[in-house]
């Protein structure tokens, strides 16, 4: 254990918050002008659409400098920015956490996508272009007060604590005014959200590992066989 810290930290316990970030863009069709051809929304949400404001205090979206007030600070969920424009550019999304969670902000980068991959197809107003990425925020050494506060929250994966370990009673975070729900389960664009499941990838990986392990075993057998053979050859050739 490290020497005396004010907040006690535990070893090898991590809290992770699964996130999805990306954008949804609609072509404006008839109403499109040269400089406003698309209406888009860039956002960060919980991967299971739970309320991530338990961890995140505010999100800063840095848009292209040609926008009015390109630095958009969103202090309440849903953490998103909606705009209209014509260009694709990189957006820097900086997550700021509550003080008991972490002092340092974390940045993500998302390239705004307005045009579908298939360039030759006609643009349609009905189906938007959706690009989402899955990632997780990892807090490798959460402090006790943080752990206590988020104990049973669905937005994050809570670690298994060592047996017999008791967390102190959670301190209430001051959110009297925030009666508004922070989850995105009923979001207006919810029908386009991707549902990320680790199952497929796990299956793929497990099968791949199996193959590799089997091959390794085979090679090891072959090598020991050869070693045996080489030995006999060596002894055989001695006069």
């Amino acid at each position: 254990m490290t020497k005396s810290d004010e907040k006690k930290k535990l070893k090898d316990i991590e809290i992770s918050v699964p996130l999805v970030y990306g954008n949804i863009a609609y072509w404006l069709g008839k109403k499109a002008s040269e400089y406003q051809s698309h209406k888009w929304t860039v956002y960060v949400r919980g991967a299971t659409n739970e309320d991530i404001s338990v961890v995140i205090k505010k999100v800063v979206f840095q848009l292209h400098s040609s926008f009015n007030n390109p630095t958009r600070v969103i202090e309440e969920p849903p953490f998103e920015v909606s705009e209209s424009g014509w260009g694709e550019f990189e957006i820097a999304i900086t997550l700021h956490f509550h003080s008991d969670v972490c002092d340092k902000p974390l940045s993500l980068y998302h390239h705004l996508k307005l045009y579908p991959e298939d360039e030759s197809g006609p643009l349609t107003m009905k189906k938007p272009v959706v690009v989402e990425h899955y990632d997780e925020i990892v807090f490798p050494d959460p402090c006790e007060s943080f752990l206590a506060r988020v104990q049973n929250h669905p937005a994050l994966t809570f670690p298994r604590l060592p047996s017999g370990y008791n967390l102190p009673a959670p301190m209430q975070v001051d959110d009297n005014g925030k009666k508004k729900r922070g989850d995105t389960k009923d979001h207006s664009l919810g029908q386009w959200f991707t549902s990320f499941s680790e199952a497929d990838e796990l299956l793929q990986l497990a099968a791949a590992r199996q193959q590799v392990q089997a091959h390794i075993a085979k090679l090891r057998r072959q090598i020991s066989l050869l070693e045996g053979q080489n030995q006999t050859i060596k002894t055989g050739s001695d006069p």
């Binding site: 899955y134 497929d200 590992r209 193959q211 590799v212």
Partner: protein, 435 residues
Amino acid sequence: MGGTDAKDILGLPKTPLSLTQEKKSRPQKESHRKPDGISREVYALTGGVAPLMPSIDVTHLKRPPPHDEKVAWQWLPVKSSARKDDLQLYHWVRVVNDVPPTGDYSFAKYNKSVDVLKYTDDEYENHLTDPVSVWTKEETDQLFELCERFDLRFTVIADRFPLSRTVEELKDRYYSVTRALLRARAQSPAELANHPLIKEPYDMTRDRERKRALSMVLSQSRHQEKKDAEILAEAKRITEMRLAARRAAEPDVPANENIGSVSPSSNSQLPATAVAPSTLTMADYASTLASLRMLHVYLRTYGLEQMVQAASSAVGLRTIKRVEQTLQDLGVNLKPKVPTKTVCDEHLELRKEILTLLNLQKQLQYKESEGSSHREGTYAAMPDTPKDRVFASEPFSFGAERPIKKEPKRKGPGRRSDTPSPAHKRPRKLKASDL
């Protein structure tokens, strides 16, 4: 503009479909007019824009450039403030409109000199007598005279000094005398505080040491240099590993200082640990994990990247490419699409296993070549070509791409051989039916 001709020939549409440009770079208004006198094709060769350098019209070259002033050169006397004597010198001067230039000789401002302090006999007796060693008043006087004459160029002074003294000794005496003099003359100590001689006094031993070290570094042979660089890198690595492994809050100052002060001649003092590649990688993982912890917050994809780098740090680029190729052949995403903790852990383990696999392949080949050279008496090993792919998807074997569905009925015609004979040099391609 020349591009439209090309597009015409190829039958491509002239205007781009999508405006995927950043707002910053609006499409430039191209100059549609070309200058006369050049054919269109030649103009297009230059890229369809005006030339970068302003070109001179040929007609201008015949006439001399006009000028409205009358310039003449005259042989005139020169006065320089830098000269103390009355020597009269002459030089060519550019006279414009019959008015000679005014002002001091242009190089006079460079005549700078050092103010070497002059002391009286009294001052000498009171403050400057040298208690320790052998500096007499005459010597000090001579030293100061030479300092003034030669502008504190100590190498020259050392040469001219009647007694043989080293440069450092002379410097030491001069600076300590000047310092003492300054202190004695100053009204208050505060005014001296910023004087360079007081703030950073000359230290003779340090100077000697520094010169010695410099000359050693200069005289090092190239071989020595390389060895030193290697050892320092190794030492740095070891300290970093130790730091990371301890996860100490306090900086490990003594260790750093030791490394810093290693001089080229004391190579033997550093531990020459030959670390095996596997243990080095374990330490790499530990240090990567430790550095991730220190961040307090990070993205899982970033964490995975770091760990993958740690795993690949001990191997060459070719091996890394082979690992990636193998992953692709196995149908695994190089970067997981759903990077949860389990997925990332599994991904990392898979990569490690592939590295082991590739190592074993190499070992096997080596053994095979050993074996065959023993039997045939010739060196017959075939180098492993990068094109060898263990899990290559072949038309007749679906094993690599659909690991779940086994299709034992599909067999490659004549490609199977259950056990490789020692003479078989290339590693066998794996099929699902083999598992």
